[in-house]
Symmetry: C2
């Protein structure tokens, strides 16, 4: 390790969060790197809170025991717990990452089949706090629903003069790269790994999916820097992945082609990958954005995406690596005059026909919606279309289209809604598809994953907006268990992050944070693009309103507002036919404006401004009402936060206030631009006579 | 001189253009730097075309004599011409830059009171070509109408990652600055100076009016680079000026203020200016953009712009220098919801009350229109509002809003219209105001000027689009003589630039260029923002259509289109009152929609789409018609150019074709976006049923 950790906010793991564990006598019975990480975590904390760490069972009694199920000489309470566990379920049910937790005889016990489970179990005890040491706890098993829980970093080594160092990053520069190379501040990377381990994230890519010239070399001559990062991430159970440029055999290898079916190209990938594993034996694999927004891909050689992905997969297979192959492929030079092309259709049209053609270690990485991380989209039909393909669902923690960490927008409810969506109307959910449980062929190891674009940078608060830390937290927690209630997850984050003040109303802080954050996604939606129509943001920056900003561009993101109505007709009957990409019942639900959910109406239908929603309001009155209300809600958010004066650390308070001021200004701007735009177009006055400019 | 001239197109002075002069016997009777420049020009050319250069009258007979009126021993023809001139007008009528030209006894004679006149006279003979050596020519006097004919370069030393090196430059990098310092290619600067001398430009600023950190130092520790440029420009009769940052006393001088009334600040400007003149004895003066679009200015110290300008003027006065003080001051953080603020009013509101308060060596530099170099604007009322102030009128040769040198847009007709405009309805024109003839106090030396932002860069064709050279040419010619017919000026440029081919139709080239270029400004206007409403360009780049792009921004450039109508109400009766800034008759003409010229209707009035223009068409039908027609006209331009195959140098032909392809694409894009926008908004179909998307 070189350098020291920069001064960063402790996020949800301040010393206070570990008080319950670290003021007690703790036994860790396991060897191995991850158990050592757990032990060190405890050692640091007990030094602060007065407890003690023990590595052998003869030093008891203990308050907390973390032990492998295979350990000899378990203390009595642990042995009792293990027996109960065996009785309930037999051996090996915990897997590599799961753990069992219970309290017997005044001892809290964490059991795991492997050291990763012990580390995750430790952080679970931290989350429980004093509740882990109270009355008897039944033995509960905690296994991740999704085996692959990955964060993609869109970090570059070089800094772009406009986009900054992190593409769509709103939290300063990269924590991995600085001054044209590896950061000297690996302590910051370690602190990040610790945070990720505490929420169960087990894979990270360390560079942007748009792989530029400098970053392409991470695969070859800059591989040492990747290995150095992997060394820091490894003790926290995190495997390192790399975004690679499909054109690498030509650009880096000097070959005359990157054709995936060319023998030389295959050999280059095989050889290059062998060298990667020589440097990083537990390397996770590649992430590829191909034939997308200017990135090279197999289309350039007349090959399919299966050809492309499988060539990289073959190189990785001997080492157990995977290819995350992104399904975000569409025509970004569309003619806005062409109403037959529908960007929403693109991923399905490209990939559904390839189902069954991908190698077993290819994971197709599909954005949750058919467009691009909008505040409101239907779930992508690709997720239901590829039973013979491993799928990962991609979320966006970085708030590109949801306020860019200048607006409070807690995304847990959005992700929960996506993950709980039932593409076939019942039974399997998106979360189950991502977990891989949908595999019809009964193969094990057919797991998919949940992936998200990280929102972290070298900002002192990690995420620009201190409250945006909650999104990172929620992603990890929901990836581990999509069934968690997002409000409860937010509650965990609040309790870990903020120390309750000794005031007349000790619940004020928690209650206020819930009031500010619980519904903040719906609040954001209410003052931005209405009824699922999407975009209406400033081109380029994607921040702030510009109703027609993308309307006449090549990007395929249109709303088609005219003096009579608005929306995109994606029906089979009269539109682009996109609704036909869904299985029933959704194909039918979305096809009819009568049955289409209000919040997605304009995504699927072009309707008059006078169309009456299920809510009983006309579309245009809904627009006025939600936008007035949305700006008012932000004003209330701001005054609620002001009520916390003195209860929050001054630096956090100052940053949040500054951001709330901007959110308030921006929400009013959205309100006024949207309302004015639709009033000018429709000529229909607000039923309540409020001021429209 | 260091370095060699880069390979650049010869523009309008290819060797062929000098054939008529340089195949003859030429006498130059004058000493001094500018006469030497003329002599060298001839010497180089005769070496190519077989004529001869003589410096003494005893080597006759001659075909062409260039002589000072004060010369002893003039050849007979010249003496005759001088006698005629004296008889007609007495001595000293030619001034420092004028010349007389005539042909007597088979000798063409140019007489001047000073060497600058000889240089300008030489280039006039070059323009005349063989016509200068034909039948007898009457003695004609040519004096510049406007004494100050200046180009502003918005060149930076540093290269901005988005804006490039030249702000609003569309012709590559700077010809003055390269790699963070003075260009090593001073030969290119010399070639530029020669072109400027040939069109009578006599002043240049060498850096951007937005003076950034690096460029601020040109005033002090980088002054040597300015002096080096001045050395190259001087032999061509061009004085060097510098854009300076108003905050320089603080930023460069380390003072605690830049308050123009502070004694230390005054002393700093005086001392700094003294050092400038020590390095550049004929330095022209400063150009200042103050309190404008983020630049510092006197407002920051609670002072007026007269205070600010006069402080700099006082520093320059002892050396005969002037301050060009830009009147482009407005609120660029306007709230679009605020309909009472009108950017068009700003310059008048700020400056008219200061008339009479500016020092005698301050020249207020006023953009020709009240907004910002739009394709169509009314003439700025400031031009008529300040009889006690020296005024320069600023034009924009660089095509920021007129196609960015990707579109053919010959601006001569626009400038001619502006210069010929009569602010008081009769008598004095804008050109007369710029010339300074309006001075009520009868003072001599009260001259104003014509200034333009240059369109030149280090592009091989100087101006990106080879045909955009004509704009640079026309600016110089119209600045010298605003009464020239812009089509005739274009004809001069064509004849100088293109060598007629020996084809069956020798006039084809000239005829085609006139067809392509003569009306290209109106063509550009026809497919872009209609009826004087302005903007509708992409924010930032200002290229291509985006109807609402500036509609909800802080820039004060709105069209207020709704489902019923469009335009900005700037009347006194119901609008912003801007029409009241004009003297009669315009105050009344513009006030009424009935009398307002069609082409400015939407600049001054908000009218229904069904409003009937003087042309008999409704506004919306006018929009449809002009946009269909405009795109068609560009298509015809393109096919006309294609008809020149083989008659134009291949590199010029290739570049022009590439640009015409883009112009054609872009004109169709404008047509479709504008028509679609107004169809969607108005719901009124095209009377001719053409395709609107």
């Amino acid at each position: 390790m070189t350098g020291e950790a920069s001064i960063a906010h402790a996020a949800w793991l301040p010393p206070e969060a570990l008080r319950a564990v670290a003021s007690r006598r703790v036994l860790v019975m396991s060897d191995g790197m991850l158990a050592e990480t757990a032990a060190q975590e405890i050692a640091r904390a007990v030094a602060h809170h007065g407890g003690s760490l023990h590595r052998a069972a003869d030093g008891g009694p203990f308050d907390l025991v973390l032990a492998l199920t295979s350990a000899d000489g378990l203390p009595d309470a642990a042995a009792m717990a293990l027996a109960e566990l065996d009785w309930r379920a037999g051996q090996d049910m915990l897997g590599a990452e799961g753990f069992a937790l219970g309290r017997r005889d005044g001892v809290t016990v964490v059991l795991a089949d492997g050291p990763a489970g012990l580390l995750y179990g430790l952080f679970h005890v931290v989350r429980l706090g004093e509740a882990a040491f109270g009355a008897s706890l039944p033995i509960e098993v905690h296994c991740p629903v999704t085996a692959r829980r990955m964060l993609n970093h869109w970090d570059n080594i070089d800094t772009h003069p406009v986009m900054g160092q992190v593409e769509r990053g709103y939290s300063g520069g990269s924590i991995f790269w600085r001054d044209g190379g590896l950061t000297p501040d690996l302590g910051r990377v370690r602190a990040y790994a610790r945070l990720l381990a505490s929420i169960g994230v087990n894979a990270v890519t360390v560079n942007n999916v748009n792989v530029h010239a400098t970053e392409a070399h991470l695969l070859t001559d800059r591989l040492g820097d990747v290995a150095a990062l992997a060394d820091v991430l490894r003790p926290y159970g995190i495997r390192t992945h790399l975004s690679v440029n499909f054109n690498s055999p030509a650009a880096l290898g000097g070959l005359r082609t990157a054709d995936p079916l060319d023998d030389g190209v295959r050999a280059w990938w095989a050889d290059t990958t062998r060298q990667v594993y020589a440097a990083i034996p537990d390397f996770g694999g590649y992430v590829v954005k191909a034939d997308s927004e200017g990135q090279p891909g197999p289309f350039g050689y007349g090959r399919t995406h299966a050809d492309g992905a499988n060539t990289l997969a073959a190189a990785l297979a001997p080492f157990g690596g995977v290819v995350h192959w992104r399904a975000f492929v569409y025509n970004h030079t569309q003619d806005w005059r062409d109403r037959s092309t529908d960007r929403a259709r693109a991923a399905y049209d490209h990939f559904a026909p390839l189902d069954g053609h991908f190698a077993g270690n290819v994971i197709l990485q599909v954005k949750y919606g058919p467009i691009d991380f909008q505040t409101r989209e239907p779930v992508s039909p690709v997720i239901a279309a590829m039973p013979g393909t491993r799928l990962a669902v991609e979320l966006q923690v970085t708030q590109e289209y949801t306020g860019q960490q200048r607006h409070v927008c807690y995304l847990g409810p959005l992700w929960h809604e996506v993950l709980a969506f039932e593409p076939w109307g019942g039974g399997r959910t998106v979360a189950a598809v991502a977990a891989g449980r949908h595999a019809d062929n009964g193969l094990t190891g057919f797991e998919g994953g949940l992936v998200a674009v990280s929102n972290v940078g070298d900002d002192p608060f990690w995420t620009g907006h201190p409250l945006a830390q909650a999104n990172l937290y929620a992603f990890g927690r929901l990836a581990w268990n999509p069934h968690l209630d997002p409000a409860a997850v937010l509650g965990e984050w609040i309790d870990l992050t903020f120390t309750p003040a000794a005031t007349a109303d000790p619940g004020l802080l928690r209650r206020t944070l819930h009031e500010v954050m619980d519904d903040s996604w719906q609040t954001y939606e209410s003052y931005t693009a209405p009824l699922g129509v999407g975009f209406m943001v400033r081109p380029g920056s994607h921040y702030g309103p510009d109703v027609d900003g993308y309307e006449y561009t090549p990007w395929g993101t249109y709303h088609f507002a005219d003096r009579d109505g608005i929306g995109v007709d994606r029906t089979r009957a009269t539109g682009t036919g996109f609704t036909g990409q869904y299985p029933q019942p959704w194909a039918q639900v979305y096809e009819s404006a009568a049955s289409c959910p209000d919040e997605l109406l304009l995504f699927f239908h072009h309707v008059p401004y006078t169309h009456v929603l299920h809510s009983g309001k006309t579309v245009v009155q809904h627009i006025y009402d939600t936008h007035f209300e949305g700006a008012d809600r932000v004003a209330r958010m701001r005054s609620r936060w002001a009520g916390l004066a003195g209860l929050v650390a001054p630096d956090v308070d100052a940053r949040v206030r500054e951001r709330l001021d901007e959110q308030s200004r921006c929400a009013q701007e959205w309100r006024d631009q949207i309302n004015t735009y639709f009033y000018r177009k429709s000529g229909i006055p607000d039923a309540h006579g409020r001021r429209i400019h």
